[in-house]
Amino acid sequence: MDWKRTREPDDAWHMTDDLHVEHGKGDPFAAAIRATRMSMIITDPRRPDNPIVFANEAFLRLTGYERHEVLGKNCRFLQGPKTDKSAVEHIRTAIADNADVSVDILNYRKDGSTFWNALYISPVSNHKGEVQFFFASQLDVSDRKLSEHRMTADKDRFERAVKERTAELEAALEAQTTLLHEVDHRVKNNLQMISSLIIMQRRTIKDEATRHSLTTMLERIEALSTVHRRLYQSKDVSRFDVSDFAKDLVTDLLTASGRSGIEPKLELDPIVISAEKATPVALMVNELVTNALKHAFKEGPDGTTAGRIGIKMSQPDGHFKIEVSDDGVGMAEANGDASFGMRLIKSLARQLHADIEWHDAGPGTKVVISMPNEQQQKRTLS
């Protein structure tokens, strides 16, 4: 490199109007452009079809062409079938407007291989403001594009995976809901069938004591049925409103013919318990109420029974309290079936960790059941 000692004309750095001539050899700027690793070309818009008038070594290396193959040609030979038409249009518009343009475009080498070209073009004007040349630099950004594509592909893949997983979970939830409905439907239908079988059987029986047993059995099963009907009526199948159940139960037992003389007195706070407690609580309430109805009230001289039955449900300090009272004949009248009912009540109470007290209410009986109840959301949230 002895350019310092080479003498050149003063205007050599202009690179002259005719760049075919190898001028400016001693000029440091021209030498830098010729030798830089950055691919560069210059085109002349004043000639037809804006041909390349200068191309550096780096351009030739990048594109694989010989200098004589590119000089005098418009740059569009770098485009190929997969080149984005809108990027080409973008460049064309900028050149028509004599404006700068920076664009990533897919270009083709002489051997047909492709590379991503971060192309930058800017117009070069003379002192009168007339555009003399376009100066263009090309940077091979295939690696960057590749990683961009990879990232986009990864993102697409992840999004697709998330979508698929979500769809799977939704389908699983849907299947589970369908299954729950199906099971619920079957349980209800089966309970209905059990009741129907008992009623049909009872019709065929003449013996009063046996009929009575079947009736008691039917009432217990119907109490379970009422729990199921109530449980799946609500949106939340894990909660059970005992007061609604008690209303249904009492209405049902009292609307049975011949019970119109007994007046119910209901004092029911809305109390919610967990679903697994629903069945034992319901069975217990059923025993107490049916017991009171059967044994506490005596038929009057006119053949009807009159009296009062009271159910109170409250929840003082985290304890769920049920009181069932009547103004009938009192506890002394309990018979054999009632003692089974009593055993049932005591066992259910043990299961629920409940305390039971029988009070002689004179007249009548009052039973008080008290059990811990952690389910207080209905009170605190509403």
């Binding site: 049925s225 009526q233 249904d248 609307t255």
Partner: protein, 148 residues
Amino acid sequence: MTEPLKVLIVEDEALLAMELESLVEEAGHSVVGWATSSAEARSMVESTDADIAFVDIHLTDGPTGVDVAHYIGEKKRSMVVFMTANPKRIPDHFAGAIGVIAKPYTMNGLTSALRYLQEGMRRPPPVSTRPAGFTLSPAFEAVWAPAA
């Protein structure tokens, strides 16, 4: 004495239909037919003169009970009460039905429902208490049990 009801039973479970028939007759009403599918139900609607049809949603040909209710509603000869273990499948407008008796119903619940319906159909509005497990459609709620 109020005139008893003529009942059409549309129910795919033989056992339930049988028992329902007994309960209806014990309550002093009569059963004019039992259909297990929507097609059978349609032809029975034509051949009988039921006052009321108890229609299950699930029949032998699928969940076609609502269609049956629509069909009966168009004929305008009898009223419909759904009887189903799956009340959530009933459309909001109840397909013109009076209401729904949710399964499992109790024996007393059904007897009360029959009395309530008899009152409602013969001398509306009904005077007895609405039985547990019986829900009126919005249209009938407005007429039979208007909010005080």
